[in-house]
């Protein structure tokens, strides 16, 4: 019995050691969890862009306006990064416009001298789960420091958004990525493992056709997963879709995100010859890309080096566009840039997939 157990142990361990790639990946996973999860979730939020504007008319800056701008701009935290970057606006309408476009996270409207209630009105982007509370408490603190007794009226421009709604949109992207672990390019690898690719490599079928075919099939599989989660989001998290245009736009974004994510994993699958390697890489990518996509926690809370990952992260653009449509009711004018980024990314990955696909057995 011992001998049998040893034989099984030996065989298994030899296989493990003969595949250094998987060994490294096994170690990398927890390390990445530590580094990325730790930083993405626990990072100090700093440099929140906030518009401060003087209510008018008259537009002459009051003392309160000047003092508040200064104080808000100089709130420091424990290890020193500034909490808020104040941008002064002359025009309330322009400030609010920038808030809806996502260029600033909040607008603080300081009352004019002739205001009736002397209320400081705060407009916050409630589709963001973290910053509104931070900005609100900062404003309160500053008012207290200035001994001003102005009441604060908080205006959530997208209404009350629960965390599950914020997170639910991110999960759509996760569903898309997860489906590529079993779909995506795995068929190519299974063919290689079984040796049946030798059969079709001798036919005139082109590399482009092989990659395009696999991406299309993977995209549809991922789309079904993404759509299912979208539907569940509507049913259980209470997000509301107001128009057919909004619905169709969300579908379009999900579809394009599927193309992007599938192209990414296929570009890996086109080279790998073992499912184990593929699975470990996809799981790893899933972790990195999902953590940095802003699905859990706003990207603004991440350290700078991690924020760079989001620039090339298709999930970030997917999550951003979907939040724009679903939570903020934004249109193609605002989220168009995300779609362009996703399409560029997909194109690059498609080309990479073709370039790395081996048309021979070597």
């Amino acid at each position: 019995m011992i001998r049998g157990a040893l034989a099984i142990f030996n065989r298994d361990f030899k296989k493990f050691l003969s595949n250094p790639f998987v060994v490294i990946m096994t170690l990398m996973m927890p390390i990445m969890y530590l580094v990325i999860f730790g930083n993405a979730m626990g990072g100090t939020i700093s440099h929140i862009p906030v518009a401060v504007v003087q209510e008018g008319p008259p537009y002459t800056p009051t003392t309160l306006f000047t003092d508040m701008s200064y104080e808000l701009n100089h709130i420091t935290q424990k290890d020193d990064p500034k909490l808020i970057d104040v941008r002064s606006y002359n025009d309330e309408t322009a400030a609010k416009e920038d808030l809806t476009k996502g260029r600033v996270s909040a607008v603080v409207v300081v009352p004019s001298d002739i205001s009736n209630d002397h209320a400081v009105r705060l407009y916050v982007d409630s589709s963001d789960s973290v910053t509104p509370a931070l900005v609100e408490s900062a404003v309160m603190k500053v008012l207290a420091k200035l001994h001003a007794d102005n009441p604060v009226i908080v205006n959530k421009i997208y209404g009350d958004i629960k965390y599950i709604q914020f997170f639910g949109v991110g999960v759509i992207m996760m569903a898309i990525f997860t489906s590529t672990m079993f779909g995506g390019g795995i068929a190519l690898i299974r063919d290689r493992e079984a040796g049946i690719h030798e059969g079709y490599l001798v036919t005139p079928v082109q590399r482009t056709s092989i990659i395009a075919g696999i991406i299309s099939s993977g995209t549809i599989r991922a789309f079904i997963a993404g759509f299912a989660i979208f539907f569940i989001d509507i049913l259980i998290t209470g997000i509301v879709i107001y128009s057919i245009e909004q619905f169709l736009l969300a579908m379009l974004v999900i579809l394009i995100a599927c193309v992007g994510v599938t192209s990414l994993v296929v570009s890996f699958a086109s080279r790998f010859s073992a499912q184990q390697e593929y699975a470990s890489v996809v799981a790893f990518l899933n972790l990195v890309l999902f953590m940095t996509s802003g699905a859990f926690y706003p990207v603004i809370g991440m350290p700078d080096w991690l924020r760079w990952v989001t620039v090339i992260n298709p999930e970030y653009y997917g999550v951003d566009a979907l939040r724009g449509i679903i939570l903020r009711g934004q249109g193609i004018d605002v989220i168009g840039i995300d779609l362009v980024a996703l399409l560029l990314f997909s194109g690059a990955m498609f080309i990479l997939g073709i370039a790395t696909y081996r048309r021979t057995l070597e």
């Binding site: 079984a194 040796g195 049946i196 690719h197 030798e198 059969g199 079709y200 490599l201 001798v202 036919t203 005139p204 079928v205 082109q206 048309r359 021979t360 057995l361 070597e362």
Partner: protein, 337 residues
């Protein structure tokens, strides 16, 4: 055997070399091989396991690139125009490449589309091929449920779904029972009548003898001989092979046997007397008389004209059944079947 010797070359192989390298050693799988194949031929590549037959086929079918040298199929160079080459060939590889999760029909349909069989005739063609393999009633069953023979037949017909100009069959009948093997042979001959050139690798002698117009012997990557069966037979010492199994031996008989003018060679190995003689049937009575004079009991006598296997052994010193590389690995039982 039919001859389609129209004189046109359909394959020209030019100093092809393939070296596989890894950290520890390099292996020359194909060693400076050159030959051509005529249009309409059934051409046999014979050699033991590991001789380099499959590597050669893989180079010709663009799956591997040669280390040096090249080959031209029809008018297309395998290195410069691999896409063109792929459009004129059909291949049945040695290992099964059927998709076990697809049905027989879907397997053929998939390949039909990849090799560009026109959509309007594809369905008819598939049923024709299924009919040919006797799998019509299993068309919608997964290939994974088929027996080894059924899979092999399906794979072979898949290779010529588009009626290719050149058909490569790498060990087409390996693992088939005699009945199924005969059916495959019939199919191959039928295809050949449709002017398809067929390149066949095998290590079954009778297969090559039955089907091939010309035969190339490959051993350790090298081309050892290439000719028609008749001409190959002339390469071994003339005459028939006689094998006599003895229970006891006597060294004195060997010189006496060799003295016979019709006997060209004779030796005794492990109590088996083997000799080649010009007219075996005329030598035999004298031989038997001689052995009886020395009261050596005989347990078997056979006489036959040399087979391909004998020729191969004569040329390489090892049997086809042996793996290439273990020199002199002659398996006693297989030497003179």
């Amino acid at each position: 055997m039919t001859s389609h010797d129209s004189g046109h070359e359909v394959i020209r192989i030019d100093h092809l070399v393939k070296v596989f390298k890894n950290k520890h050693k390099s292996v020359t799988a194909v060693d400076d091989v050159s030959f051509s194949v005529a249009r309409g031929e059934i051409f046999g590549l014979l050699g033991p396991n590991g001789a380099g037959k499959s590597t050669l086929i893989r180079i010709l079918t663009t799956l591997l690139s040669p280390t040096s040298g090249t080959a031209v199929l029809d008018q297309y160079d395998i290195i410069k125009q691999p896409e063109k080459v792929r459009s004129i060939i059909g291949v049945c590889p040695q290992n099964s490449t059927l998709d076990m999760e697809l049905t027989a029909y879907d397997n053929l349909d998939f390949y039909g589309k990849l090799v560009d069989v026109p959509e309007d005739i594809l369905d008819k063609r598939i049923w024709e091929l299924l009919e040919m393999t006797g799998l019509s009633d299993r068309a919608y069953m997964r290939a994974g449920t088929f027996s080894g023979g059924m899979r092999r037949k399906l794979e072979i017909v898949r290779a010529f779904i588009h009626r290719p100009l050149i058909l490569f069959l790498d060990e087409p009948t390996i693992g088939l029972d005699p009945e199924a093997r005969r059916e495959v042979w019939q199919q191959i001959e039928e295809l050949n009548r449709e002017e398809t050139t067929i390149i066949l690798t095998t290590h079954y002698m009778e297969e090559a003898e039955k089907l091939c117009n010309r035969i190339a012997f490959i051993d350790r990557g090298r081309l050892i001989a290439l000719d028609t069966l008749e001409n190959l037979k002339k390469m071994v010492p003339e005459g028939d092979l006689i094998t006599i199994g003895l229970d006891a031996t006597d060294d004195r008989i060997l010189p006496l046997i060799r003295a016979n003018p019709l006997v060209s060679a004779a030796e005794i190995n492990n109590s088996v007397l083997t000799l080649s003689a010009k007219e075996g049937s005329r030598v035999l009575p004298a031989l038997v008389t001689l052995i009886e004079q020395y009261s050596l009991p005989m347990n078997s006598i056979s006489i036959h004209s040399p087979s391909l296997e004998d020729i191969f052994i004569y040329l390489t010193g090892s049997a086809l059944g042996a793996d290439s590389g273990d020199a002199g690995g002659v398996k006693g039982g297989r030497r003179f079947p």
